[in-house]
């Protein structure tokens, strides 16, 4: 199993949920996050003092899937989140040796979905 972590632009979340549903990926966890990347951030001023904002609002996704779902999930994320502009984000794929469903105690692949 794999644990897929993705950072995307907040306003792409809905599109991405759609594309994931189409890919039959129905389970995910979302947190909001601040990100610093290629996207250089922006300059503002507050009460006359210039301030550089380089931590931008992002949305972080965590999706645990079985091996055979990895590629389609990654593609679905790209499809939903991509704008072609700097700031689109990243996907990280980690190995997931174990997964347990709290309700039933099921383990492994069976517990993922």
């Amino acid at each position: 199993m794999k644990l897929i972590i993705a950072y995307i632009q907040p306003h792409k979340l809905n599109d991405m949920k759609q594309s994931l549903y189409r890919a039959e990926v129905h389970k995910m966890s979302v947190t909001n996050s601040l990100g610093c990347g290629q996207q250089k951030g922006y300059h503002e001023s507050y009460r006359g003092v210039p301030m550089e904002v380089n931590l931008l609002r992002k949305v972080r996704l965590e999706i645990a899937v079985n091996e055979d779902f990895v590629e389609r999930t990654v593609e679905a994320i790209i499809e939903g989140a991509r704008t072609g502009q700097i700031g689109d984000g990243k996907i990280f794929v980690l190995d997931l040796p174990e997964c347990i469903r709290i309700r039933t105690g099921e383990r492994g692949g069976a517990a993922i979905g």
Partner: protein, 434 residues
Amino acid sequence: MMDPNVKVIVDTVWVMITAMLVFFMNLGFAGVESGFARAKNSVNIMSKNFIVFAASSLGFLVLGWGLMFGNGNGFLGLEGLFCLSGADNSPATGDAYQGAYSAISWTGVPLFAKFFFQLVFCGTAATIVSGAVAERIKYVSFIVFTFIMAMFIYPVVGHWIWGGGWLSKLGMCDFAGSTVVHSVGGWAALAGAIILGPRIGKFDTGQIKAIPGHNLPLATIGTFVLWFGWFGFNPGSTMAADPGAISHVAVTTNIAAAAAIMSATIMSWALMGKPDLGMTLNGCLAGLVAITAPCALVSVGSAVLIGLIAGVLVVAAVMGFDRLRIDDPVGALSVHLVNGVFGTLAVGLFAQDKITGTATGNGLFYGGGFKLLGAQLLAAASVAVFVFGAAAATWLILKAVMGIRVSREEELRGLDIGEHGNEGYAGFQVFTTA
């Protein structure tokens, strides 16, 4: 006969204090409108609602007052147009009055008291627009529009009805401004909302999407303040400390709000399964707007009826404007436009002649036939045509000249950053996905 000096003093105290309460309604509008919008636009909405009264104050002083109350023809004031410069011997009243502003010489208070009271009403009309165009309009364009509202659109209609113009001559009666203030604001808001188009995401996918407000406690606080301020708005419109009238108006105003709260809440409960707080709040405002014209002209019983109807209307209207794909984030149209018109007509239906002294003749339901109702209808219609037309023209010109809508990127990230470089709630974790 009581000492005339004393009357001037007490009337002035009453007019000034009630005017202050109406001023305070600016806070109420700010609270309601930003509470019903998203956090990422809260600074922009607060800015709009804050600067709108500053702009109105300057605009109404420079020209608005003169156009509205200056002696002139049936359509415009012509005398003492600029900066209260006309001759005036207030607080002299009636025949004793000699000056450029005869239309408002019926109230025996100093000129500045008249001006201050009328100014806060003008500000209210201007601020109504703010809600319907929220979350997408360019700050600068809104400010320019506000000046146009305060200097031309509002005063012209005001002249027709309160400035001795043609509608008042036809016997049309709008005691505290369901038409002059609320439907004027509403028609201008409608033009703006249509020309701006809906917020990104509201109707994109074909169907209607809900865009929840970010701070309903703030919206509730705002509505309480508006309810409070309305006790200046309606009872103050006597512009004299007439015990019978002011207490009557306070009671009709309050009971109409109460009835509308109940009917709107029950209505949303029935239609949506749960009592939506937003609908309860809009219901309150709907009742207040609807009773604004008739407050001094109808009985307490009629006020209850008017309130009940207003509460139903507002819920239906909120859902209706969505169906029409007109995006009004805070329900300003349903509250001020729909119920401003309804309240105006309600006078024609429920009025009882001289119930608090004002001679109106009876409304339809009290044997007055269609005379009064006709005048009210004509007023509602002509104001609709003029204000919608003038506002639409203004919006379109602004659109051509400077643009009226922020960029897609800015709208997505929020107008607070885009227009002001501020965050409403720095440090707080807020999802800006919608």
